[in-house]
Every structure is written in C-alpha cells, then in structure tokens.
C-alpha cells in the first residue's frame, strides 16, 4: 500500500518522494543505504545534510546528481523526474576532481567544450567564473600548482560555468585545514548569495552546518533516514558563540550522538564478526 505522497511542485529545486537506495541489491552483501527520504529543497535554499560517516548522505547526493538511480521512490528536479545526470545539477567532491592534464581555465570550461563551444567563448566564460571565485590570476596555471583551497574554488567555478540550479557538495572542505575551511565557508556563502542556485551540502561537522545552513537535515545511521530537520534563521555571517547558536549546537550534538554511537557499535560488531 503506497502512502499518499505530497504533490511535487515545479518550484522546488529538488523534491525527494520516498527515495531509497539499496546497494548490491539481490546479493548477500545487499545493504540499505537510504530509506524513505522525503525532502523538498526550495530554489535558492541552502540545505546541509548532517550525519555520521557512512549514513547515506553522500548516496542521496549521488541520487540527486543522477549518477545513481534510486531503488525505491522518486526524485524530481524542477518538477521533472531525475533519470540521469544533468549539467544544471553539479556535484563537487571532497577530493580534488580537477583534471591534472588541463590548465585551470580548460578545467573550468570542460563542460562547455563537451557542448561544443568555441575556445573563445569558453575562455570568456572561464574568465568570468574565475573572477567570481577570486582566481583570475590562476587562469593559465595547472591544478598541481594550486593549494587545496584554491583547487576547490576552481571546482566551484567549474560548476558555476554550467549555470547550475543546484550545487551538490559532498564534504567539499573536509580535506582542508581548519583555517582554510573557515575561509572557504565564507567564500561559498558569498558565491551562493550572488547566484540563484540552491546548495545541498553534506558534512559531518556540526559547526559547519550551523555556519552555513538555512535548514539542517539530520540523518540516522544505517539505513540513512531523515531524523530531524532544524531550521536556522540567524542572519549570516553567524557568530557561532551567540547563545542561540550554542543552544542549537547542543541540540544537534545530542541528535547526532545517538546515531554516532549506533554506527560505531555496528562497525565494532561487524569487525568482530569477521
């Protein structure tokens, strides 16, 4: 018996209706990564997915990106059912994913060259988006000449060149040191404010979630389900030591702690079983 589902509005940037994913379905190793996810992301909204490692939040990003298809339920983008990847849903990875054999501007305009644009047009767009991320000087550089933070900014520029409606970010700053990470959060908010794209941001850092999100979506561990959705209305940039946000931090920590404990216990028992 299917549940009555909320109607899907074409105004939602992304709408998940009972979305689930079973990896290795039909085999002994089958496990449920994601179960029964209902989530609407408004156009221009900044949503952070918060949960312990391996809780399926990255899986949800891959489903929304269209790189994988859900094994149950549906996901819509702008009211259209997602059946594969699309340039206006851009995924940014934790590890650098720039092509080392291309220069920065060639990387940034890679998606445009796929579409068959001329070099002159591509350079024009590359110049414009690199200026937006503050990396005009890096135009002719190679990725290995840049720092980790700069490389992630180039990755963001590459997504912006595709004029995305949704930016999907899979722990994009996790590999960076603490200072760079704080800078990058500010940078991302600037880019997001200047664009009309929605951002769906995966992290397991509570502070990062509080600094960035319009809404924090807390996930349970194995299978990944939505445990709570916490709106944050404070204006940005946020002072994380403000009493309201400290209170929020305590709440989120509590929500997350049970899940971390459960995930940890499961990993322990799985290791013991081997």
């Amino acid at each position: 018996m299917a549940k009555a589902r909320r109607p899907v509005s074409s105004k939602s940037a992304v709408a998940c209706r009972g979305a689930g994913k079973v990896w290795a379905a039909g085999t002994e190793r089958a496990h449920v990564a994601l179960q029964d996810v209902d989530l609407d992301i408004a156009a221009g909204e900044f949503v952070v997915l918060l949960g312990p490692s391996g809780c399926g939040k990255s899986t949800l990003l891959y489903l929304i990106a269209g790189l994988e298809l859900p094994t149950s339920g549906e996901i819509y983008a702008q009211g259209e059912l997602i059946e594969g990847p699309a340039p206006d849903r851009s995924l940014i990875f934790q590890e650098t994913s720039l092509f080392p054999w291309l220069t920065v501007w060639q990387n940034v305009s890679f998606g445009l060259s796929i579409r068959g644009l001329s070099a002159a047009e591509r350079m024009k767009v590359a110049r414009e988006v690199l200026a937006r991320v503050g990396l005009s000087d890096a135009f002719h550089k190679r990725p290995d000449e840049l720092s980790g933070g700069m490389r992630q900014r180039v990755a963001v520029a590459r997504s912006l060149a595709m004029q995305p409606k949704v930016l999907l970010m899979d722990e994009p700053f996790a590999a960076l040191d603490v200072q760079t990470r704080a800078k990058m959060q500010g940078f991302l908010l600037d880019v997001w404010t200047a664009s009309d794209a929605s951002v769906l941001f995966v992290t397991h850092h509570i502070d990062e979630a509080i600094a960035l999100a319009d809404r924090v979506v807390v996930f349970t561990a194995r299978p990944g389900r939505i445990k709570a959705i916490v709106p944050i209305e404070q204006p940005r940039p946020r002072d994380l030591t403000a009493p309201a946000l400290l209170q929020l931090r305590v709440e989120l920590t509590k929500l997350l702690q049970d899940e971390v404990d459960r995930a940890f216990a499961e990993q322990e028992s799985a290791a013991a079983a081997e």
């Binding site: 990106a65 699309a86 849903r89 990875f93 080392p100 054999w101 890679f110 796929i114 595709m162």
Partner: protein, 311 residues
C-alpha cells in the same frame, strides 16, 4: 650543500618552459644539472662491479677462457668487430670478404636489432591500447575477446617462435612478430587495469557535465591512463630486448642475437660478453630516452612523485 643542489634541480624543472627557449649552452647546463648525478652513479655502479670481476681474474678465481674480464673482451674492439660481418656470406657467389667495414657492420647489427625492437614495441603498444579500450568500451566485445587474451597472456614467447617461423620464414618478420606477441597480451591486460583504476571522480564529473560515453573515453580516460601506459611501455622495453635476442638467434640474417648464437657455437665467451655490453648500453640509453619522453609528454605529473620516477 644538499639543499642547494636540490633547489637548483627544482629550478631547472619548473623553469622548463623558459629553458626550452634559451641558449643551447644553458640547456646543456640544465641537462647536466638534472641528469648528471644519475649518470654519474651509473658509472660508479658499473665501475664497482667491473673492479670485482677484474680482481677475481687477477687472483685467478675467474677462468680467463670462460669468464674473460672486461679489459680483455673490450680491449680488442677491432678484433671483436670482425665477427659482425653483415655480408650475406651464406649466399652462393658472395665474396666472403665483401661487406661493410667491421665497425660499420657493428653499427648495422645494432641498428637492425634496435629497429626490430622498436617496430615490435610500437605495434604492440598501438594494438594493445586499441584492444584494451575496446574491451572496456563494449561489453559484448569484452566477453568475446577477454578470456582468450587472458588465456594467451602467460604463454612464454619462446612457444611462439615456431609460429613466427611458420608464418614469416626468416628475416625481420619473425623477430618483429616475436617482440609483438610477447608484449601484446600483457600490455592489453595492463591497459584494462589502467582504465579500471581511473579516479571515479573524473568520470563522474564528466558525466554530470553531460559527456557521452565516447567523450568520457577520449577526453577523460585516455589522458588519465597515459602516465601509467608510458610506465608499462618502459618496463616492456626491456622485455622487448630480451625477446628479440631469442628471435634473432634462430635464422635472421644478422642481429645481436645472431652474434650471441654464433659466439656460443664457436665457443667465444669474449664475444658473448662484448655483445651483452652493447645490449646493456642500448637498453640503458632507450630507458633514459623514455624517461625524457615521459617528462615531455606528461608535463602534468608532479616530479618526484607517483610511479614515474622509480627513485
């Protein structure tokens, strides 16, 4: 002292674009700065083992008739060169003393073997790259070909020798075929391994940008596997040199393998070692040339990192 030399070396690498534009003398200096230490150590290493051999001879441990030391088999280069007659003496009516000068004959012999190595290597590299990509590109093609390739990969090249002679008789044909067949199957499997180890993120990025399968292969996978393939090619260069000797020992007009075979039949250990030295020098030079090629072609691979440097 150490720090200074490292810094100078780095400067030579990162100024690479500027170097190629500047004067020849500057380029030579940069070359020596970059490669001098390695070449120097090569000389020291060879000198070390030569000295051991010479000492063994000096104290009468190494029998001169079986293991003549380097100063003997390299001392009479002109005499050794006389064995490298490339005239077709076996043909009726050909003057046995005809043909090029002894040194000319040595050069011709070296070039002949080198040509066979390069031809076989080039054929194997191109066909294995095409086959490897085709196997991963098309599932039906994979099912049709991969089991056979895997089955034939471990077969020793020596087993192919009769086939080479049946198919190509004697001459260049069988030698090139031997090099090709010895490398083709393993290089195909290596290509597949390289494709499988391409960073998934690269492919996913291209997919989200709307790349077709064909575009993913030409724009992402091909450049991504190139560094690994060049390493495979370099390693297989040695394999090619080993196989070409086996092939040449059986019925080609002339070549380094034919010389070794003749030296064995005429019990001439000096000539064997002389030829081994030539092969070693050729192989070393080719390996060095391949390293330079790697640096040029793979400008994006960080220096002193990854699988390319080998120390």
């Amino acid at each position: 002292m150490r720090a200074i030399s490292v810094k100078a070396g780095d400067g030579g690498v990162s100024d690479y674009g500027a170097d190629s534009l500047s004067s020849p003398s500057h380029r030579l200096r940069a070359f020596v700065r970059q490669h001098g230490p390695r070449l120097g150590w090569a000389v020291v290493s060879i000198g070390f083992f030569t000295a051991i051999w010479e000492l063994l001879w000096y104290f009468g441990i190494a029998d001169q008739r079986l293991l003549p030391p380097p100063h003997i088999f390299l001392g009479d280069i002109a005499g050794q060169a006389k064995n490298f007659n490339t005239a077709k003496r076996w043909e009726i009516g050909v003057d046995p003393n005809a043909g090029p000068s002894p040194f000319g004959a040595v050069v011709i012999t070296m070039l002949s073997s080198t040509m066979r190595v390069l031809a076989g290597l080039a054929c194997a590299a191109v066909t294995s790259l095409i086959l490897g990509i085709a196997i991963r590109y098309n599932a039906l093609f994979e099912k049709l070909t991969l089991p056979t390739v895997t089955l034939l990969a471990p077969v020793s090249p020596v087993a192919w020798l009769p086939v080479a002679i049946f198919l190509f008789g004697i001459g260049n044909g069988p030698a090139i075929f031997m090099v090709f067949i010895a490398l083709f199957f393993t290089m195909t499997l290596a290509t597949i391994t390289q494709i499988d180890s391409v960073n998934r993120n690269y492919i996913n990025v291209a997919r989200t940008m709307g790349a077709t399968k064909r575009q993913i292969y030409t724009r992402v996978i091909l450049p991504a596997i190139l560094p690994g393939l060049l390493v495979v090619l370099r390693l297989n260069l040695f394999g090619a040199w080993m196989v070409v000797l086996v092939a040449e020992a059986t019925g080609v007009g002339y070549g380094l393998g034919q010389i070794i075979s003749m030296a064995r039949n005429t019990f001439n250990p000096g000539l064997v070692f002389f030829t081994i030295v030539i092969i070693g020098v050729l192989g070393f030079s080719f390996d060095f040339a391949m390293r330079l090629l790697q640096r040029r072609v793979l400008y994006w691979v960080p220096k002193g990192q990854g699988p390319l440097t080998g120390g």
